[in-house]
Symmetry: C2
Subunit: 332 residues, 2 copies
DNA sequence: ATGCTATATGTAACCCGTTACATATAATGA
DNA sequence: TCATTATATGTAACGGGTTACATATAGCAT
């Protein structure tokens, strides 16, 4: 690997001049620049980012914390963040936290030691306290866990209202909700949106709400219980698509036909929802756009440390597919 | 951020002694060590990895190249690699290549400049030539693209044979294959496995093979064509699960019942296959284990540069689910 | 002609570790 | 007792960049 000294020698100048050429800094004579460029070309020289990082205290790396990349919601988010970070000459580091605070802290130390420039975090368990451990810009994505951070989310509350209203509009008369973990802000808001629509209905029972932890198997289990205890249910709003699929699996194994006997709507808009049979009606989030926006905001903050806090909420969009259907006997 | 100098000052020793304590190198008096440890504790000192990397020419970073993390096969692979790299105190960098050579080269330059320690590559298009661009250990995973590299794969050929034989064993008498891109070694071997079983059958037609590019929509299209042109088909072996789901979707929209009229078997064992309805019979790969093994092999190679080339192939396992069924009328 | 500024380039300190080498004392062996 | 070795610690060079500061010439205004 050629170094800046080699380039300087070949071009017959000092390292400072080469550095000026590399960074388009200060004064450099056009002819000198030409000679330096030639030397760079000739030696196929690439500046050593580690040396730069050491001096600058910045590494041109951005990290994304997700609970688990195997959860199908996250790959698209990760892809978006990676695309934007790369476009801006950053390197993308992926960290699976399992929503485990200790892992998060270990990651933060490791990243700090590598002079990471900024972090995007999807988490419901991280404490604002633990962010003090690291002194770089942080953006919260998808879920809010500290009021001091800039955030990118969707309007979970309105989306949940719309989903519930949609089921009512189809003629559903008993609607259950499978919620995510209530310590997650998005799950909480989706639950609230549902409750604000149905809690005044005379048919509503608190036992129409069950927690599925954003997990397929768990959702399948609670949906089974829900459907067995409440055969009158004709609609389910699941707080995410994975749980929506779990609910459909539960219905199927109980011989309940979706969408004829039961309409299922969920939330997220992951590809898997389209592939399910029946395909899943859902409140679609602009997942890629959210990841991309979070990355952009982070880079803005890296470039301008004093930038103020900003919250951006995308809106969600109803995508009607096969898991919901207007009720025939809606002529009362 | 405290530096090693601060620690040295507080402990009343030189930086060399602190360094010795940090790295358990050379001689250090027990009492001195105690004082240094206290100083480290007191200042909450963490060594600067960038400075270390500059001196050592190694960054403790490992990169994984995948075509696209949004393809559901890769998250589990990525998760495995990340787990192992972290366990060994490496930082995990994810690179989506889109199987685009130019992106690959850009990544390689960027990683080289950051003194990355090693790379794991899933790719069908990278040339052995382009690997010369970077001078670090490389492991090929899932697909073989250079005979000079250590590789971790599965026995695609045997798996494909078993899948095809399984369909025959169920009584299928006309079996088509939806292949992946033939420039991918795994797709090629799966195709060959299929061909070696069926090409001598008198019913076999070359037009029973169609390429689906490992892509759902493409597979759905070619499956539709296949099923329309060849209504006699009663079995499909898709070269991966995503295409298997595409084939089922095609059958569904043509009113062909899976598995009663058509058995579908695929390859991979991704979670989505379980979630599909009917759930997908498949040749399951130990995806996590493969990623983990590749990471382990890479780390071995990083620690012992002269380690010889090694190829490891995991075996695949038949997982019977709802998309395949023994034919009733198999009494001839 | 003189002083000031813009242009051009070089020297060396600095970022923060690691380690070769120097130095010094204590322990061991002949 | 003297040489040798093990133990203990410090000094300074080094890795490869960036940049503050010094230096020097040319162009311009007064």
């Amino acid at each position: 690997m050629a170094t800046i000294k080699d380039v300087a020698k070949v071009a017959g100048v000092s390292v400072a001049t080469v550095s000026r050429v590399l960074n388009s800094n200060g004064y450099v004579n056009v002819d000198t620049k030409k000679r330096v460029d030639q030397a760079i070309e000739q030696l196929n020289y690439r500046p050593n980012d580690v040396a730069r990082a050491l001096f600058k205290g910045r590494s041109k790396m951005i990290a994304l914390f997700v609970p688990d990349i195997m959860n199908p919601f996250f790959p698209e988010l990760a892809r978006a963040v990676e695309d934007i970070t790369n476009k801006n000459d950053y390197t993308f580091v992926l960290c699976n936290t399992d929503d485990n605070l200790e892992k998060v802290l270990t990651y933060m130390d490791a990243l700090q030691q590598k002079s990471v420039d900024g972090i995007i975090i999807v988490s419901s368990t991280i404490t604002a306290e633990s962010l003090k451990r690291i002194n770089v810009p942080v953006i919260a994505l998808d879920r809010i866990f500290s009021s001091e951070l800039s955030t990118v989310t969707v309007d979970n509350y309105q989306g949940a209202r719309k989903a519930t209203e949609y089921l009512i509009g189809l003629g559903c008369q008993r609607i259950a909700h499978i919620s995510g973990p209530i310590n997650a802000s998005n799950a909480k808001n989706r639950l609230q949106g549902y409750l604000d629509i149905v809690s005044d209905e005379d048919w509503f029972l608190p036992s129409y709400v069950a927690s599925g932890s954003f997990n397929l198997q768990k959702a399948k289990d609670v949906a089974t219980e829900l459907l067995m205890n409440h055969p009158e249910l004709d609609g389910i709003f699941a707080a995410n698509d994975v749980m929506g699929i779990g609910a459909m699996k539960a219905a199927e194994s109980l011989g309940i036909h979706v969408p004829n006997d039961l309409s299922v709507i969920a939330f997220d808009g992951i590809t898997m929802g389209e592939m399910a049979t029946p395909s899943l009606t859902t409140m679609e989030q602009p997942i890629y756009d959210m990841g991309a926006r979070a990355a952009e905001m982070l880079i803005e903050q890296i470039n301008d440390q004093k930038l103020s806090r900003k919250n951006e909420a995308f809106s969600v969009q109803l995508v009607e597919r096969q898991s919901t259907k207007r009720k025939r006997d809606m002529n009362e």
